[in-house]
């Protein structure tokens, strides 16, 4: 049985002041460092914004031993009632990279789990991603409840060679030419309740989901503001259903008999403008109750709200609650009643 080693990351006398140092300290072989495997878990604190580029690499991993990057209880943007499903370092653990020396978060080994984080590539002209899983076998890495944002063109906000993404948002916040949402160069990919958006005041370019690996399954996913909903290569097997986009059906639309096409972008989210974006669902959104809840992978939404059963569930990371989500209660921001850390994966 695996043993979890928790290390705190933050600027207030935590174990490490940077994610880079936390990663550097990872035992070189997590499958043997502790008998039965070691889960090397970094728990971030929102003491201040993390301004760095992080590369997770050089460690032997498997299903019993792997790194986990997450936010401590009450420290994630998921825990905040003010969350607009947009990057906001004031509301939770946030990693932002402003340089030109790499991706904001580069996951170069398999099995890495990332959850409850915000990751922002705040640079232009560098042809990098907010999140990259390096080419190779990475089908077992998992990402859940994360916001990814990039101002850079030339490469998608999230570039991943497989793995599983649940309740994630990719925001292509750039006027540069070719910034897509999720790009899958290789591997086998599962996307559940993920949304790719390009603010509506930017010229549509790129694609929400570019699937060109071995296989990709997209369920309850949304793409808005791009030139194409999906672009699927002939090498890839594209599966899934209950997706939604403002793109027309057919070529570069979604597969699935229940997927919705040609939706009006402005009708779906609270605010779709670059400067004031709020990608939570608005009343009357076509994404409400048009999903098909994946009770195994995504029984709760980004905020912890229990999704509707089966086709009562919504598309994307946010489950709309007409009377206001219970997370609007102010004491929830104190971390007292925030989501449990266990069972996130």
């Amino acid at each position: 049985m695996s043993t979890t080693t928790i290390k705190t990351v933050g600027s207030a006398s935590r174990n490490y002041s940077t994610w880079t140092a936390w990663e550097a300290a990872t035992p070189a072989n997590l499958t043997t460092s502790i008998a039965g495997g070691e889960i090397w878990q970094g728990e971030g604190y929102a003491d201040s914004e993390f301004l760095e580029t992080v590369t997770v690499s050089g460690t032997t991993v498997d299903s019993t031993g792997y790194p986990v990057m997450t936010a401590a209880a009450g420290q994630s943007i998921c825990d905040s009632s003010g969350n607009a499903l947009n990057y906001n370092a004031a509301l939770g653990v946030a990693l932002r990279y402003t340089g030109n020396g790499g991706h904001a978060l580069n996951v170069a080994i398999d099995w890495v789990h990332s959850t409850r984080l915000q990751v922002y590539l705040d640079a232009t002209g560098v042809t990098e991603s907010a999140y990259l899983s390096t080419f190779g076998a990475a089908d077992n890495h998992r990402v859940k409840d994360c916001i990814f944002k990039s101002r850079d063109g030339g490469q998608a906000v999230v570039q991943t060679c497989g793995g599983t993404f649940i309740n994630c948002v990719a925001i292509a916040a750039t006027a540069e030419a070719d910034c897509g949402g999720f790009d899958q160069p290789s591997g086998t990919l599962l996307l559940v309740n993920c949304t790719a958006v390009r603010p509506s005041d930017l010229t549509p370019v790129g694609e929400g989901f570019n699937t060109r690996g071995t296989a990709a399954t997209l369920n309850n996913c949304a793409s808005f503001g791009f030139l194409n909903g999906t672009v699927d290569s002939t090498f890839d097997t594209l599966l899934g259903d209950y997706n939604a986009t403002d793109h027309a059906s057919g070529a570069n639309g979604f597969v699935g008999a229940h997927s919705q096409h040609s939706l009006t972008y402005a009708n779906q989210f609270n605010n779709t403008l670059l400067a004031t974006a709020d990608f939570k669902l608005k009343s009357g959104s076509d994404l409400i109750a048009h999903g098909n809840t994946d009770a195994t992978n995504a029984p709760n939404d980004f905020f912890g709200t229990v999704r509707g059963v089966a086709t009562d569930g919504d598309v994307g990371p946010h489950e709309y609650v007409a009377s206001g989500p219970v997370t609007s209660l102010p004491f929830l921001d104190k971390g007292i009643y925030s989501r449990p850390m266990a069972g996130l994966f």
Partner: protein, 123 residues
């Protein structure tokens, strides 16, 4: 700037098509003077903290990847610092790994760091 540096090889794997692990002489990260280093940042016997009067841009050169080889593999840090070449010997001794660590910030000049810095050969 304050640098968190390795004084021993980390161990680990070097994939053929990606970035790998850290080695003795690698700079983990560079942060502005006065960084509130964590408890493990300050106590891990495999690391030291060095203060050197350079800009962030200059320090970033020491934390950059190497160039990629034909197989797409690159070192996690393209520059290595040869601690053994520091003079006097008492200064170099501060960077010898012996399983312990004095919790101090070691001051070096820019010239001292540049004199021991070199690009790694391609992987």
């Amino acid at each position: 700037m304050e640098l968190l540096v390795w004084v021993i090889d980390r161990g680990g794997i070097e994939p053929s098509n990606s970035v790998g692990t850290y080695y003795k002489g690698d700079v983990i990260i560079a942060k502005p003077d006065g960084e509130n280093w964590g408890t493990d940042d300050r106590s891990d016997p495999r690391w030291r903290i060095v203060r050197v009067p350079v800009t962030q841009a200059q320090a970033d050169q020491w934390t950059a990847f190497s160039v990629k080889n034909a197989a797409g593999h690159y070192w996690k840090r393209g520059v290595t610092l040869n601690w053994a070449a520091l003079t006097p010997a008492s200064l170099a001794a501060k960077f010898v790994f012996d399983g312990s660590r004095v919790n101090e910030i070691i001051a070096l000049t820019q010239a001292q760091v540049q004199s021991i810095a070199s690009l790694k050969a391609n992987p």
